[in-house]
Amino acid sequence: MSIDIINVTKHFGSFTALNNVNLTIPTGELVALLGPSGSGKTTLLRIIAGLEKTDQGTILFDGKDTTARDAQERQVGFVFQHYALFRHMNVFENIAFGLKVRPRKLRPSKQEIHDKVHQLLELVKLEGLANRYPSQLSGGQRQRVALARALAVEPRVLLLDEPFGALDAKVRKELRRWLRRLHDELHITSVFVTHDQEEALDVADRIVILNEGRIEQLGSPEEVYERPQTPFVYNFLGNVNLFHGRIHQGKVRIGSIEVDVPQYAHTLDTEAISYVRPHDFEIEREARGNELIPAHILFIRAVGPVVHLELKREDTGELVEAELSKERYRELALKTGETVYVKPKDLKIFIPEDYVI
């Protein structure tokens, strides 16, 4: 089922949670709503579920206006951040709840409910735990019961609020791979909220990045990571180094170096902010004209295949984070306190008048 969110605005008192949001979620996609806390991502999810009312705007399910419908009529599966399992019911009763509360005419028989619940237990790999109570399960197991319970009603859309937020790192990784596989099997339109960019990049077909109630960018994980459209997205997705500089006739001057930026050939003496990812630096031992920034090494972390360096620029005193491969690191034989020369290979420039950070 496709979902259209049209001009949706939501206030809580004087706080604007969503500010004129427009978004289309195509059938069968797994979409991540990504943003910091207070960005409106959970509010948007709850509005899709019908747990919050919009102040303005329209929600369409499959092209049909659903704005005025209550949560109970929307046929959504909602997985809550802290699972919200019914604590006085065992796993079986939890999963069967959505089927048992149906009006008599639509209610499946006892046998059908039994079969359906066991089929779901198999799907979420919890066979044999049907008689346990929620408090007897681990976090990951509870999460899967919550998912099975949501899937039992055969929802038209699956909504997940920070589904892995309360789990430890290892379980989280396993579960999100499993969710991805499950989605590939079931092809149910799914939306999940997360503040963890790695999680969004790892699982989603498309990522919606929200900030202060607005959509900053929308795209595939590659698109949003490789081509951030706003300074916020650049900052939010992955580590980044920020440089202040000035653009003049196709050249940007950052401290002691100048870099060609042909797309700004006609810009005259304007302030600019540039972003460089840590892995987009070249590191040399020798100076080469004014292309390289001299910096001394403050700290080296050489655990794993990638070596992290913390450097201090000698021209402006700003700190720079850089990453390089282990081979290159061995080749250069870097040591803490030494002076090296760094060059940004890839540089993204924003002119601050257009964007407010």
Partner: protein
């Protein structure tokens, strides 16, 4: 009423396991002091009530609790409980539901109002109703014209009891429901349950032990309320005397044996209440333990 005596098994066990850091002497002295205090302040008076009740023999005891005025007092007390407890239970659930699950203007005012009967002396609570419904009161002449009796009659006693026992259920449920939050209800709604089913299948089972506890406290207070009821009752024997009032009248007439006999009946009710209360708490702990294993 002795509703708050710390007799729960679980708490005692927890205190024991945590108490291992103190030297045994300190533990024994403290426990001994607490027990001594309980014995002097609670057990001796309680036993004395039963002792005095049976002092003049079992025949007199039975006569005292089966004479018409005593029976009328018992009956009236039970009637008051039967009306005020269900009403305050409904009100308590509704108020706790509204306060815990919704945000609205005037919420703090409502919480303060619920606490009002705790803050106001029962005598003043009784006077409020006399001033409202009594002959010199605001509604007095109108009621008299319609020949409706509230003050010095059963409705007044019921009203005064409802006023005094109003906070118990709500006070018990508000923190419980607030701590449980609304996520389970929301989950039920998204699974297609309507509001009524959500309440019966999710909310009520989650609060049932807290609710039982609140109902027990309300009942205990409704049985034992003296001050407010005394003001509105008029002390008409066989008509508007509840058990506590009957005890007082007998005592004032130097019928100590009869007075203590009725008092022992009330004490028995209190003990039974206490046992049910502890059973409820024990049940909750069993559930928690089962769930935790």
């Amino acid at each position: 009423m002795a509703g708050n005596v710390p007799l729960q098994h679980g708490t005692a066990q927890a205190a024991h396991s945590l108490g291992t850091t103190e030297p045994p002497v300190v533990r024994w002295v403290l426990t001994g002091l607490a027990l001594l205090y309980l014995v002097i302040m609670l057990f001796i008076p309680l036993i004395y009530v039963f002792f005095k009740a049976f002092e003049e023999g079992i025949a007199l005891y039975l006569a005292a609790i089966s004479e018409p005025d005593a029976l009328a007092a018992i009956w009236l007390t039970l009637l008051v409980v039967a009306i005020s407890v269900p009403l305050n239970t409904l009100f308590g659930i509704a108020a706790a539901w509204a306060i815990a699950k919704f945000d609205f203007k005037g919420k703090n005012l409502l919480i303060t109002l619920i606490d009002l009967p705790f803050a106001v002396s029962p005598v003043i609570a009784g006077l409020i109703f006399v001033l409202l419904f009594g002959a010199p009161g605001i509604l007095g002449p109108w009621l008299e014209a319609k020949d409706i009796k509230i003050i010095f009659a059963v409705p007044g006693i019921v009203l005064a009891t409802i006023f005094v026992t109003l906070p118990f259920v709500a006070r018990e449920l508000i923190p419980l429901m607030q701590s449980q939050g609304t996520a389970e209800e929301e989950a039920a709604l998204t699974l297609g349950a309507n509001g009524w089913k959500t309440f019966w299948l999710i909310t009520l089972p989650n609060i049932k032990w807290g609710l039982l506890y609140g109902v027990i406290l309300t009942s205990a207070r409704a049985v034992g309320e003296f001050g407010a009821v005394s003001v509105v009752s008029g002390h008409i024997r066989g008509l508007t005397n509840t058990m506590p009032l009957h005890v007082e009248i007998l005592y004032n007439e130097y019928q100590f044996g009869a007075s203590f006999a009725v008092a022992s009946l009330m004490s028995l009710m209190a003990v039974i209440t206490l046992v049910i209360k502890n059973l409820a708490e024990w049940k909750v702990q069993q559930q928690v333990k089962e769930a935790g294993s």
